[in-house]
Symmetry: C2
Subunit: 374 residues, 2 copies
């Protein structure tokens, strides 16, 4: 029987009870606000997790790669938003997906794309659903709502022979840098208001806006109402991580994903422990350094999930290193001892591995595949 003492390290441990709890909470937020939940699967890339997340919903999901679309469509999912702006190198594959009968929504924020995308869609005889990607303050991608492009691109899409204007979509990623719950709430309100106003403006110009889609894990947990919004797309909430807990989106007890690691070296003089979870097993995300300069690369927990108040301080490829101030803890951490590491960023840590080991009642009850790649 596999358990935390017998699994090969390093590997991922998924607490399925916490996943169900996290899924239920966001599901309720969506239901209570009367919006469609289209969870982002990039955090887990895992069919079994997506089934939990979409249990009371339509089964529609958001993806970060076209590889996720293929993998999930072979396993019962059929409705996807590919939430990275589409570029010409991916037109052919997007068309192939649609031709195979899968419902796929694309996004763009570029004035050149509607015309160049329409040509191959027409040649292939397919209609492509395209969202306008809107910048609600994150400034990563998206058009700003008060520019002429914000009106022009929807019109171009709506007018193109083989494109269908799906609506408007945004992601308030800047909520990850907010310094208080109030600030997150403010960003959440702005995310909603910017989108609802733009939708109204477009409707005023005679453009139909079927979907108003927003979503981030911090904002969904701090929004007062979602009137005018039709869809939310949070993703990280299903696992959370040290970053989200530091940010206040969840408690540390909500975090569902850890990396199981074994002690491979101890240095009594320097009071330093090395484990076999390094930069590949954890990812090298620096985490919430803005909020906690001592966060390091993750928190070290015991096998029951209790915080040992140790932080992974440095990482090389297969070595994670941390300092242990007190003797009692140091003495316990002999070579071979196992710990669980709560990574700063669960999405990146998960993407390093082939599968989740599913933990229920201290036993490993299943192994769920992670669909990596592009």
């Amino acid at each position: 029987m596999l358990n935390l003492q017998t699994l090969k390290t390093p590997c991922l441990i998924l607490d399925s009870e916490r996943v169900r709890h996290n899924a239920e909470r966001v599901s309720q937020i969506a239901l209570n606000n009367n919006v469609r939940l289209r969870p982002h699967i990039k955090t887990h890339k895992c069919v079994e997790v997506a089934r939990i997340a979409t249990a009371k919903h339509t089964g529609a999901v958001t993806t970060s790669t076209l590889a996720e679309v293929w993998a999930f469509s072979k396993r019962g999912f059929s409705n996807f938003t590919y939430a990275v702006p589409i570029e010409p190198g991916k037109f052919a594959e997007a068309i192939e997906i649609v031709r195979s009968g899968i419902k796929l929504y694309l996004i763009t924020d570029d004035v050149e794309i509607p015309a160049t995308l329409n040509d191959p869609a027409r040649a292939a005889g397919v209609i492509l659903n395209v969202f306008l990607k809107v910048d609600c303050g994150y400034h990563r991608c998206g058009v700003e709502p008060n520019t002429k492009e914000a009106l022009e691109i929807p019109k171009q899409i709506a007018d193109a022979s083989n494109l269908n204007f799906a609506g408007i979509l945004t992601h308030a990623g800047h909520s990850y840098h907010a310094h208080s719950k109030e600030e997150i709430a403010e960003i959440a309100r702005k995310e909603r208001d910017v989108m609802v106003e733009l939708a109204e403006k477009l409707r005023g110009l005679g453009i139909e806006v079927p979907v108003v889609s927003i979503g981030s894990t911090p904002t969904i947990h701090h929004i007062d109402h979602l009137k005018g919004v039709t869809e939310v797309r949070p993703g990280n909430y299903i696992f959370f991580d040290a970053f989200q807990a530091t940010l206040g989106s969840c408690s540390f007890e909500d975090c569902a994903l850890t990396v199981l690691a074994a002690v491979t070296h101890r240095d009594r003089e320097r009071r330093k422990i090395i484990v076999d979870a390094g930069a590949i097993a954890l990812s090298k995300d620096r985490g919430p350094v803005e909020f906690d300069s001592t966060c390091g690369y993750g928190r070290v927990l015991d096998l029951a999930g209790n915080d040992l108040w140790l932080r992974v301080e440095s990482l090389s490829q297969e070595h994670g290193s941390f300092y242990v101030p007190d003797n009692k803890t140091f003495d316990k951490l002999i070579v071979g001892t196992r710990v669980r590491i709560l990574a700063n960023h669960s999405c990146l840590a998960a993407a390093q591995h082939t599968h989740f080991n599913v933990l229920e009642n201290e036993k490993i009850v299943d192994k769920w595949e992670i669909h990596r790649g592009w």
Copy 2:
């Protein structure tokens, strides 16, 4: 025909001519110094690359995971050093490898390990080869050479019924933090001298020391002589990367690995470009910030490999972002334009992907598998 314009992005591009050139240089250093070359395969995890690296040598390699041992042993390699300290959770697998007829060297720096490793080895009826891991100044793993453990552990290994003392092994990883070639040369000399002296001391105690193994990419390129050393284990040199070039281990023209990416968004107002190579495609290694605070997460090159003097400044999961000061370059970077990104850390970037696309004379001539996981 696949080429840099038709490959799906993001993906890895391997310049095989540069790989051969890098391999030849280090091969010559080993041959000229009359030491065995046991290159570290952790950088590439790729059989075809390892064949190039070991062409004029015994075929012995160094690995960072037992998964690499299995994958390579199925493809013609038979002599491995697993260069992470062995811990009890991996005893059974190590024994299974040896029982299957593969030559495997393990390393330890812990006084408890020889006795606890000997028991299962005896039970399985195998002899395990074990190195003493020595700390020559890096302070990651290894025993310090002047401690009693440095003499005691070899004796324990030599005396154990089912262990064979393989010799002493070190890695001067602190050379990656040196601030000049002179400093690297000094670390290289110390790496060698510490090991040669310890070997002599052990021999003086009647312990046979068959192998004295050192190795890091910076030190191997800056050593004056290797008398007393029998084996070198550099790894990163086969590709190099932005970190090594900044450090002076190589020129930027030696770097053999890049990530092909496509522009997915442009923001004229902020003069910002987003590409589809994010934290997963590149890894989130901060790189040589000690030496170049503006290094960001990698250098942006054109398709011919020329530096555009743009640096990837921020990364989210599938988005890489950089600022473009001049108009002419910005105007060229329309959505769909392809660039190559020279990552800070080639080992971590490579480990994110399933294969290398092999570039020769501007054509993609092959696809070489990367053996990931643990």
